[in-house]
């Protein structure tokens, strides 16, 4: 019997090649895309799960709170003492503790030297806690040597080629300090599904020296640069430890003269290791993480695409139901009961689904390289080694087979043989409503996707082109070196003498970066000095910073190089800081007393608010001050017409100013654009899926239109004989489908509107939802639908009526 079903299914396919092509290719397309998305989702969900202890590791992150309990800053890192203290205070609960400290050293081996940015110092227990596989060396002792370093296979290859790297000496320069390393181990490359990647792990010992010894390091609560991981006992709920953290903070951070408990000001917050990649988007992360929302969006899209494809299948099966009805009647008369018919139809759609799956897998293999390129990952379809994937595939076939087959199965099997066998049966009306619903659903999804894509790109465009309140064009940012900072004025003059360089300033941070540094502040309000209970981010700058970025001073003056006091007791604030402190106007702020960290002084100027960070963030209160330390970058404003020549000049200069390091720079503008990558990717994906959805929907509509026209061939013939013109007939045939698309538009617009409203809420700066995006989406869908339908209608309308009328 089963053989018989499959035989019929296959022969059906062969006998109706056009119909089967639409059906199978539509399904295959939908399944292929679904498989691709699910591969990606599976990959995203697999982050950090490869560690044997993945469910026992948590990361300790550090948050600060305002007076009103709101989080003002939440870093993924913590200060160096917290790890050892947790291990000490919660002995037995915290079984192991490992900290990572990232630097970008210049590494040298013989004649090879590179700047490495995936270099970490780590505590020696790292290989106990994490399951990175060591190929050579002893994981237990490798990092206990003060000069021990472990590198990945690719790095061993990069520096040592065919030589055996074990025991080789290695030189490194970290922020002006020369270090000696000895290779103590080689590990496999870190899997891609890790929330951070590294090429080198070195012993923590040199870091202890940076910090001035173990004792000093254990007192340093301000340097929150240590990614801190804890290993908890098996089956232990990390929340239980979290509950004890407030007391721990109060105990260890008790401050004199503060009546507020320490835990109300700053806390350690634990995160399970496996949650980091999708659930953690803190103010500092080792690497940018993804968001679970995107996983949801992608999964939903995968499902939608699959459903659209299934709908096509259902649609086209009902279109053929006249013919199938006879078969059903006959089979019943011969003795088939309803169950066996349902089984037959479901079986048929399973066969179709299976055939489509083979095509889909082929499609996936074809697209995968491009998709990998696009998302910068290395996804693989590996059915025979990855059971989740295999089960997923079977699941997809099952889902498609059931969903797509269910309507024909239950509907067709219900036919009464007495009515269908006499040949008076007409299938037209029965399905019409159902088919309409299907078409509406398909177009609703397509229109919503198109509209969403347009909104995403509009927002993206807006962010890229918005006036940020300063001049972001043509500002190159370069790293500084000891040589530059110690001799800054001379070097500045030397640079300014080049005709292509308009302005130069050093700073701790430049726009397009984050504002993560801050200290306690107090300000004179209503005649008395008040402690400020919110965070004012600081930027340490040189005198020309405000000019280099062309920021607007709305009150007071800029720092003056001729006034020595400006370097020790003057502050410039932004409007947002002035407003939150409570001064009535920028003018009001001028000359008011202001204390920041250890510096006491007065406000000398106020700059207009500007977007220092990406437009995801709203404008934070900022204070500018002139320091003699913490300078990381030099910003150079370049004349646009001489960009190339100037960059060449800078490269020459930097070869002597920062010897040994490769020349590297970035432009502020580009760095801003870079931060909108996720949005750009989302927009592109929406676009891709929208095109796909509309293709599948059009395919279905085409099939349906051809069926309806076929059914009405006689009617068309009669109308023509009675004098109807071609255009009247085309209009007649197209009206109904057009109406369906219109209904789809009416449903899609509010849905997409609402969804996009939610999405835009992610941004501190949003566009008003553009009406044109929805109009355009609607018109596109309508046009595509019309073209699809008219193809059939016109063909039918111009046909000679004699042909159709004679056949009876």
């Amino acid at each position: 019997m089963l053989k018989n079903y499959i035989k019929i299914a296959l022969r059906n396919i062969r006998k109706n090649p056009g119909y089967s092509f639409i059906n199978i290719s539509g399904l295959a397309l939908g399944m292929g895309v679904c498989i691709l998305i699910l591969l990606y989702v599976q990959f995203e969900l697999s982050y950090d799960k490869y560690h044997d202890n993945s469910d026992r590791i948590v990361r300790a992150t550090r948050a600060w709170f305002n007076q009103d309990g709101e989080t003002s800053l939440h870093l993924g890192h913590a200060a160096p003492p917290f790890g050892p203290m947790l291990e000490n205070d919660f002995e037995g609960t915290v079984e192991e503790m490992v900290r990572f400290f990232q630097v970008n050293p210049l590494l040298r081996y013989e004649d090879k030297s590179f700047v490495e940015d995936r270099f970490f110092f780590a505590d020696p227990e790292v290989f106990d806690m994490f399951s990175w596989k060591m190929i050579e060396g002893d994981p237990a002792t490798a990092l206990t040597y003060p000069d021990g370093i472990v590198l990945t296979e690719s790095m061993a290859e990069k520096y040592f080629g065919d030589e055996d790297p074990m025991g080789k000496a290695f030189e490194g320069e970290v922020q002006g300090v020369d270090l000696q390393f000895q290779v103590r181990g080689i590990i496999e490359d870190v899997p891609e599904n890790s929330h951070f990647q590294f090429d080198f792990l070195a012993s923590m010992e040199p870091v202890v020296q940076f910090y001035g010894g173990q004792a000093a390091m254990m007192q340093n609560y301000g340097s929150n640069n240590f990614a801190t991981y804890l290993l908890l006992p098996e089956g232990y709920d990390y929340q239980r430890l979290q509950d004890q953290i407030p007391a721990f903070m109060d105990r260890n951070l008790a401050q004199e003269g503060h009546d507020r408990p320490a835990s109300e000001g700053t806390m350690l917050i634990l995160q399970p290791l496996t949650d980091i990649h999708l659930h953690s988007n803190l103010d500092s992360e080792i690497e940018a993480n993804s968001r679970i929302e995107y996983i949801y969006i992608y999964t939903a899209i995968a499902l939608f695409i699959l459903i659209i494809a299934c709908i096509n299948f259902m649609n086209l099966s009902t279109a053929r139901s006249v013919k199938r009805a006879v078969e059903v009647g006959l089979r019943k008369v011969i003795g088939a009961d309803r169950t066996s018919l349902i089984k037959q139809f479901i079986g048929e759609s399973m066969v179709m689904a299976l055939l489509s799956l083979f095509l889909a897998i082929l499609l996936v293999e074809l697209i995968l390289p491009f998709a990998n390129d696009f998302i910068d990952k290395d996804l693989n379809l590996n059915l025979f080694q990855n059971y989740t994937q295999l089960i997923g595939m079977i699941g997809i076939v099952g889902f498609v087979g059931l969903v797509a087959g269910s309507y024909p199965a239950f509907f067709l099997s219900g036919f009464e043989p007495a009515s269908v066998l006499k040949g008076t049966f007409k299938a037209g009306k029965v399905h019409e409503r159902f088919r309409s619903v299907l078409v509406i659903t398909q177009f609703t999804i397509s229109i919503a996707l198109i509209a969403s894509m347009l909104v995403v790109f509009t927002q993206l465009n807006f962010m890229k082109n918005k006036d940020l309140g300063f001049d972001k064009e043509n500002v190159a940012v370069l790293p500084v070196s000891e040589q530059i900072t110690s001799n800054y004025e001379n070097i500045r003059q030397r640079l300014l003498s080049h005709p292509g360089i308009l302005n130069v300033s050093v700073a701790s941070r430049v726009p397009s970066g984050r504002l993560l540094d801050s200290q306690g502040a107090s300000a004179e309000v209503d005649g008395e000095l008040r402690e400020i209970d919110f965070r004012i981010a600081d930027i340490h700058v040189a005198h020309d910073y405000i000019q280099t970025f062309n920021m607007n001073l709305v009150a007071g003056r800029d720092f003056d190089i001729n006034l020595a006091s400006d370097s020790t007791e003057s502050f410039i604030l932004n409007e947002s800081a002035v407003r939150t402190i409570g001064w009535t106007s920028p003018e009001d702020a001028i000359d008011k007393e202001f204390h920041y960290g250890n510096r006491r002084g007065r406000v000398i100027g106020v700059v207009q608010d500007f977007n220092f960070e990406s437009l995801h963030q709203s404008i934070a209160p900022i204070v500018f001050l002139i320091p003699d330390d913490r300078i990381n970058s030099i910003a150079i404003k370049i004349r646009d017409s001489e960009r190339e020549a100037t960059l060449e000049f800078l490269e020459e200069q930097w070869a002597t100013l920062r010897p040994g390091y490769p020349f590297s720079y970035y432009f502020v503008q580009e760095n801003f654009d870079e931060q909108y990558r996720a949005e750009e990717r989302l927009g592109t994906l929406f676009g891709f899926f929208a095109v796909l959805a509309i293709i599948i929907a059009a395919l279905g509509l085409y099939g349906m239109a051809s069926f309806t026209t076929q059914q009405r061939v006689k009617e068309i013939g009669i109308r023509k004989v009675l004098g109807a013109s071609v255009s009247q007939i085309v209009l007649r045939l197209s009206t109904k489908f057009t109406a369906l698309v219109l209904i789809a538009i009416i449903i899609a617009i509010p849905v997409a509107w609402f969804a996009m409203k939610q999405w835009l809420a992610n941004f501190a700066y949003q566009i008003d939802i553009p009406v044109w995006a929805f109009t355009l989406a609607a018109i596109t869908a309508l046009l595509i639908a019309l073209v699809t339908i008219s193809w059939q209608s016109i063909k039918a309308a111009v046909a000679n009526p004699i042909e159709s009328l004679r056949s009876e």
Partner: protein, 230 residues
């Protein structure tokens, strides 16, 4: 074998009741070859549908092999369809996707006959109907008469006791029709009960009893003669 007592079939439409069959009393014994005749709309097909369990009467009693039909479950009806009743249609209703062989074999699949036995049974029928050479052809490759031969072959492969044939020769020219009728005659001689609907006196003559229907009721006279008179 078949006993109809006072069978009515009507359609209620608003305040009007339209009778399709009214007060049908009919006994058909095993081994009869009955022809139902009557003008279009007389209720022949409805009567056939009721006889074949494809439709239920609105009123009255139908006993099949002594068992009241309205008491039969769907499953039991399916059982009877599988084992007792064979249908032959005016439009043949062969499945286009299946070969002659597979079309004939299909009822056996629903009866869960073993593969080996199926082969033997189909081979036997093909031989009997002289269509062995055509067994691998598809219905579209056959003439109407040949298709109906296959239709009859399919109807009798399950050794039914009753064959219901609704205008089996309606689409055929006379030579083909005679061939089909000869076939029925032969089957009838072998003991199969046959009920057919036809408009043709000539085809009716193959049977041994004619039932005339007019406006949903049984009439003694030949309705065609009356129609001709008026």
């Amino acid at each position: 074998m078949i006993q109809l007592r006072n069978i009515d079939k009507y359609i209620d439409k608003r305040f009007q009741r339209t009778f399709i069959l009214k007060g049908i009393d009919l006994n058909i014994e095993e081994g009869e070859f009955v022809t139902i005749m009557g003008p279009s709309g007389a209720g022949k097909s409805t009567l056939m549908n009721i006889l074949g369990f494809l439709d239920d009467p609105s009123e009255g009693e139908y006993k099949f092999l002594g068992e009241p039909v309205h008491n039969l479950s769907e499953k039991k009806k399916s059982e009877y369809h599988k084992s007792h009743i064979g249908f032959v249609f005016q439009a043949y209703h062969l499945l286009d996707e299946l070969t002659v062989y597979e079309n004939i074999e299909m009822p056996l699949l629903y009866r869960k006959v073993s593969g080996k036995q199926r082969k033997a049974m189909v081979a036997d029928i093909l031989d009997r109907f002289n269509i062995v050479a055509k067994k691998d052809l598809f219905p579209s490759q056959l003439s109407g008469g040949q298709q109906q031969v296959v239709g009859v072959a399919r109807a009798i492969i399950g050794n039914p006791k009753l064959i219901l044939a609704d205008e089996p020769t309606g689409n055929l020219h006379s030579e083909q029709s005679e061939q089909i009728m000869e076939m029925f005659k032969k089957l009838n001689d072998e003991g199969v009960t046959i009920i057919q609907v036809t408009h043709s006196e000539k085809m009716a003559a193959y049977g041994n009893r004619i039932i005339n229907l007019k406006d949903g009721a049984l009439v003694k006279e030949n309705p065609y003669e009356e129609a001709a008179e008026s």
